[in-house]
């Protein structure tokens, strides 16, 4: 049964380079949403942009998911500032 997901939210985060955007994608993608059935989150990378798209049935769950994502995004960006730039490959 497909859960109704009336609410949507999208976010585009610019990074200094496409590699940085891919690193952020790699760092933020692996952990599944705690409530997969009620909130879905898709991450994609285009050039140096990390796009995130949420769909959820309830505003409360959507907000929790976005908040948590922004916390982790901030952490990843800070880590890049502290330990970057990426080594050439």
């Amino acid at each position: 049964m497909e859960v109704q997901r009336a609410l949507e939210f999208t976010l585009s985060v610019p990074f200094p380079s496409p590699l940085n955007a891919r690193i952020a994608h790699g760092a933020l993608s692996p952990d599944p949403e705690p409530r997969k059935a009620e909130v879905s989150k898709e991450l994609t990378v285009v050039e140096n942009l990390l796009h995130v798209r949420w769909r959820a049935a309830e505003a409360r769950l959507l907000r929790v998911s976005i908040n948590s994502f922004l916390d982790h995004l901030g952490l990843v960006v800070e880590t890049m500032e502290q330990f970057g730039p990426p080594v050439p490959r």
Partner: protein, 254 residues
């Protein structure tokens, strides 16, 4: 522990990619065991893993650290910490350390439930029992807080020594390694040492520098995993709070 795991995973994945280095996901308990083996030189020990979140007796067999016995409710460290709160014992430097010091001045053994169930142990009933009777006993002068610390330690450590000894008998093991935060407790080490001596076995234990959770233990286990050819792909690097000791395939031991 979900939040700290999520944080460290995000940072580890970022750093691994920034530096183009392999990533390894390490089981927490396996970290304790591998660091304990390296620091003490124990070869193939029966492991007692005792901390605030876990209580397990473990032995290695055929590429797994197998759990022979464990707590069926709360961890022994959790029992000690909560007991400390009941008696309003200080958290500085840690409740367990303060219980240990007070226990040295205990004179009287208060009888407490002794709850070994086969190879498993249970601590929640002991804690409830103490919560129920301690204030009355202290008010009437029947015993002192020091007596209670002493009695609780003697009881729960005796239980742990019993199941460890039984696991050794099962495996024909002649070594015991104590890991985890409660492993700092010298009285536990002493009691385990007596049991080992009686069996002609050897005890391996460390102090608080290695017993308490640390990053080096994760690095050591990760290094062993890496040396044996393991890496964790980003897709497989998701976190979980339910990762049992025996889920790990030990590829770095015979």
């Amino acid at each position: 522990m979900g939040a700290p795991l999520a944080v460290v995973a995000a940072v580890a994945r970022t750093v691994a990619q920034l530096w183009d280095k392999p990533l390894l996901g390490v089981n927490h308990c396996v970290g304790h065991i591998e660091m304990g083996r390296m620091v003490t030189g124990a070869h193939d020990p029966t492991v007692l893993y005792v901390s605030g979140g876990n209580t397990q007796v473990i032995a290695y067999s055929q590429r797994r650290y197998r759990i022979f016995g464990e707590t069926i409710d709360i961890a022994v460290g959790n029992c000690l910490d909560r007991f400390a709160r009941v008696l309003k014992i200080s958290n500085d430097p840690s409740p367990g350390y303060n219980i240990e010091q007070m226990a040295k001045k205990g004179q009287k053994l208060v009888e407490l439930p002794y709850t070994v169930k086969g190879m498993d142990v249970s601590f929640s009933g002991i804690l409830s029992h103490i919560e129920e009777v301690s204030h009355k006993m202290l008010a009437s002068g029947e015993c002192t807080p020091e007596d209670l610390c002493f009695s609780l330690q003697e009881t729960v450590f005796a239980m742990l020594v019993e199941i460890t000894e039984r696991a050794m008998a099962h495996c024909g093991s002649q070594e015991v390694l104590i890991v985890g935060g409660v492993g700092c407790n010298l009285r536990l080490q002493e009691m385990m040492g007596i049991m080992c001596e009686e069996r002609g076995a050897k005890l391996f234990a460390t102090d608080e520098r290695f017993c308490i959770d640390n990053g080096a233990m994760i690095a050591q286990a990760g290094w062993e995993m890496f040396r044996s050819g393991q890496v964790t792909t980003l897709e497989d690097s998701w976190i979980t709070q339910r990762y049992r000791t025996d889920e790990v395939e030990v590829t770095w031991r015979d």
